[in-house]
């Protein structure tokens, strides 16, 4: 009985999953959090990739087909999604995903399947550590944490910092740690270290404790929706200190969510904002096309999705082939490719050396406050 059911189901799988491969098409896989807790980031990245696809629909005279798979913000699903892209859809390269733990799960599969992956916004160092086939379009957290610490200490003369960390998020735990190391190294003091867990919506107890320690700055490496809630509650409790955050705060909705409370918020991010001065040409074109296509502001996630696509197209061109191995070699040799978030060259660990940008919320708008070298 069991095996009969199995047989029927496997036949169904065959029937539905049968990929009709055409020679004049190059397939690029895309897996990301389209549902689940991280859907807000994954959907923006998808929109960025789709914009790039519209702009560059062909490479080597062949049409590009984007195969989109959801990973539900879940590790097991992420690994399944990548397996599916490689084995079932036979893609040449893969883009994805938001969230480092998912990118790690997916990357392990790609490593076995010998297909290159460009991670969009997975900033944890572990994502590419020791990996042959994983690359990323974003900078890594140690760089970002050092940048935030240096900016806080040097440019704003903050001496006492507090941390408020989502203990369930690898991103938050990692970034907070890098901030702490660098901030104390510079001579600053961490006066309080509070924790919460993803899903919590009441932070009043932690904030009351932090307020009582009177820090100059609170480093909050949260995702934007939670971060906005924290800042709002802090202001309701009468907090006066400055908040600083990381790239995950970069979302057009952040300002609407937190309202006036977010005024003066500082965060590190990618050197891109839709209204920044002296944009590079790629960024200009991206911004222009974005507003034609969508009726909202672009953010760093959208830009990174777009950039990941550019990186892969560029590699396919240089490799002059849709063979995953050759694309991988070409990706590794990427040199000074201009993307929305800056020129990209990979180091030995496949991490691009990108500038850390500092952004500030001023008058309800995100303002580019310059780049920082930690």
């Amino acid at each position: 009985m069991r095996k009969m059911v199995l047989a029927v189901l496997i036949c169904c799988l065959f029937a539905c999953g049968a990929a009709f491969a055409a020679d004049d098409v190059i397939k690029i896989g895309f897996y990301n959090c389209l549902t689940g807790q991280n859907a807000f980031g994954g959907q923006l990245e998808l929109e960025g990739v789709q914009l790039a696809l519209k702009e560059f629909p062909e490479v080597l005279g062949k049409k590009i087909e984007l195969v989109i798979v959801d990973n539900k913000s879940d590790r097991v699903e992420a690994a399944n999604a990548v397996t599916r892209l490689i084995e079932n859809d036979k893609v040449s390269a893969i883009i994805g995903t938001y969230s480092s733990s998912l990118a790690i799960a997916g990357g392990e599969v790609a490593e076995v399947g010998h297909v290159p992956v460009v991670a969009t916004s997975a900033t944890n160092p572990l994502v590419t550590q020791g990996k042959k086939y994983t690359f990323r379009a974003c900078f890594i957290d140690p760089l970002q944490g050092a940048g935030a610490a240096a900016y806080a200490y040097r440019n704003h003369n903050f001496k006492k910092a507090a941390l408020l960390v989502d203990v369930a998020s690898d991103y938050a735990v990692g970034l907070a740690n890098f901030f702490k190391q660098n901030f104390t190294k510079l001579g600053g003091e961490i006066v309080s270290e509070m924790r919460y867990a993803s899903g919590d919506q009441d932070f009043s107890a932690q904030l009351t404790e932090i307020i009582s320690k009177e820090p100059d700055v609170v480093f909050l490496p949260a995702y934007f929706a939670e971060g906005a809630m924290v800042i709002k509650q802090a202001r309701d409790l009468g907090a006066k200190f400055t908040f600083m955050g990381g790239d995950a705060m970069d979302n057009p909705e952040m300002v609407t969510l937190a309202g006036e409370a977010i005024e003066g918020f500082l965060y590190t991010g990618f050197a891109y904002a839709p209204d920044m001065p002296d944009m590079n040409d790629v960024a200009k074109k991206f911004t222009e096309n974005w507003y034609k296509e969508y009726s909202k502001d672009p953010n760093a996630n959208a830009a990174l999705g777009y950039d990941s696509y550019l990186l892969i197209i560029d590699a396919i061109k240089r490799a002059d082939s849709a063979d995953p191995e050759k694309i991988r070699d070409a990706l590794e040799a990427t040199k000074d490719l201009m993307t929305v978030t800056g020129a990209t060259t990979f180091d030995a660990d496949h991490n691009p050396q990108k500038d850390v940008g500092i952004l500030e919320i001023k008058g309800g708008k995100k303002v580019f406050a310059g780049t920082i070298v930690p």
């Binding site: 059911v5 799988l13 959801d70 733990s101 369930a168």
Partner: protein, 359 residues
């Protein structure tokens, strides 16, 4: 039925069982050749889910103890196995926030040993918490075990020197091959059948069905339950370890209550108390979830373009789940079991089509 036919049937049944196992072996041997890695992965996942389903079914369906803590025991198994398998160099590189506790650094064991350790650790923890909580009955037991698995998750997140906190563990070698997972599944099935047919199995069922009566017969009901609970946890730990070695990365977010629910779903859809049911449930739930992915892909029918809708898959899955449970409230198998007698009566005397094994 006369003794003669009994004996004949026993002979036939044993032969059929051996044949089925041989067919399964042929299938496993051929699968990686004819099926691509994606399908192999799903088939692998089916075996793991079946092991998890069986172990929870042992606790709940056969032992009558409502446990919502299975994700916790999976987590113990997955972590124990991962920490034992990784080399010291890997551990130093991965625990970059807080260095790993020195007594864990040099622990290193081969896969099978780590698997056994995973099972025993989970069983030990199961035994430990069962001592107080098994005094509770019914739903309260479920809630207490749920609480236990949540506490465990908080501990995993915070005890960075042991578990690497929310960063999780990655780079676990992919030891879970089809042979491994199905080998263990077969062992688990045989083990469960043996236990159920043994004296202990009868005692356990007696305790489940009527505790007072069992007590009056002189059965130490508490000890029976503790033992059964620990055995179930052993299976949970093994399942967790296999899962970790399949996905190759683990973290606290993998072992939430949602994980327990999905195992519970497998058990109940298949039929509470039925071994066959749990296996069918695992096949159905696992394949359905993957197969339904097509509803999220953009469809092109002629010139009509339907964009994919993320989330649609789970909507349809939940509708199917509710439908199955409403129309087959006892689950697919109810309390029944697969037997060769039933199998042959299904097809009469004609040779059954055994396509299953040859796919």
């Amino acid at each position: 039925m006369s003794g003669m036919t009994d004996k004949k049937n026993a002979f036939r049944d044993n032969t059929m069982t051996l044949l089925a196992i041989a067919a399964l072996a042929v299938f496993l041997w051929q699968a990686p050749r004819i099926l691509d890695g994606y399908k192999v992965r799903i088939i692998n996942l089916i075996a793991i889910n079946a092991i998890l389903g069986l172990s929870l079914n042992f606790i709940y369906g056969i032992g009558g103890m409502f446990s919502l803590g299975h994700a916790g025991f999976m987590a113990i198994g997955a972590y124990v196995s991962a920490i034992l398998i990784l080399t010291p160099e890997q551990k130093i590189a991965m625990w970059f926030l807080d260095p790993i506790a020195p007594w864990l650094l040099n622990l290193h064991a081969p896969f099978l040993v780590s698997l056994l350790a995973a099972g025993f650790f989970a069983a030990f923890f199961g035994w430990l918490i069962s001592l107080p909580v098994l005094r509770l009955g019914g739903d309260y037991l479920g809630i207490a075990t749920l609480g236990f698995s949540e506490i465990l998750r908080v501990l995993i997140m915070n005890l960075t020197p042991i578990t690497n906190g929310s960063l999780g563990i990655k780079g676990i070698p992919a030891h879970t091959s089809l042979w491994m997972s199905y080998g263990i599944l077969v062992a688990v099935v045989f083990g469960t059948v043996r236990i159920m047919n043994s004296n202990f199995g009868n005692v356990l069922k007696a305790v489940r069905d009527d505790e007072v009566a069992a007590k009056t017969m002189g059965i130490d009901t508490f000890r029976t339950r503790v033992l059964a609970f620990s055995i179930g946890c052993f299976g949970g730990g093994i399942g967790g370890a296999l899962m970790g070695n399949l996905i190759t990365t683990i973290g606290p977010t993998m072992f939430t209550i949602a994980q327990t629910y999905s195992i519970l779903m497998i058990v109940v859809i298949g039929g509470l108390g039925s071994i066959t049911g749990s296996i069918i449930g695992a096949v159905l739930v696992t394949t359905m979830l993957e197969w339904l992915r097509f509803v999220e892909n953009p469809l092109t029918i002629g010139s009509l373009n339907i964009p994919g809708i993320p989330g649609m898959r789970m909507v349809i899955f939940s509708v199917l789940l509710i439908a199955v449970i409403i129309f087959r409230r006892e689950g697919i198998m109810g309390m029944r079991e697969f037997s060769w007698n039933w199998f042959f009566s299904l097809f009469g005397s004609s040779k059954p089509t055994k396509g299953g094994e040859r796919v």
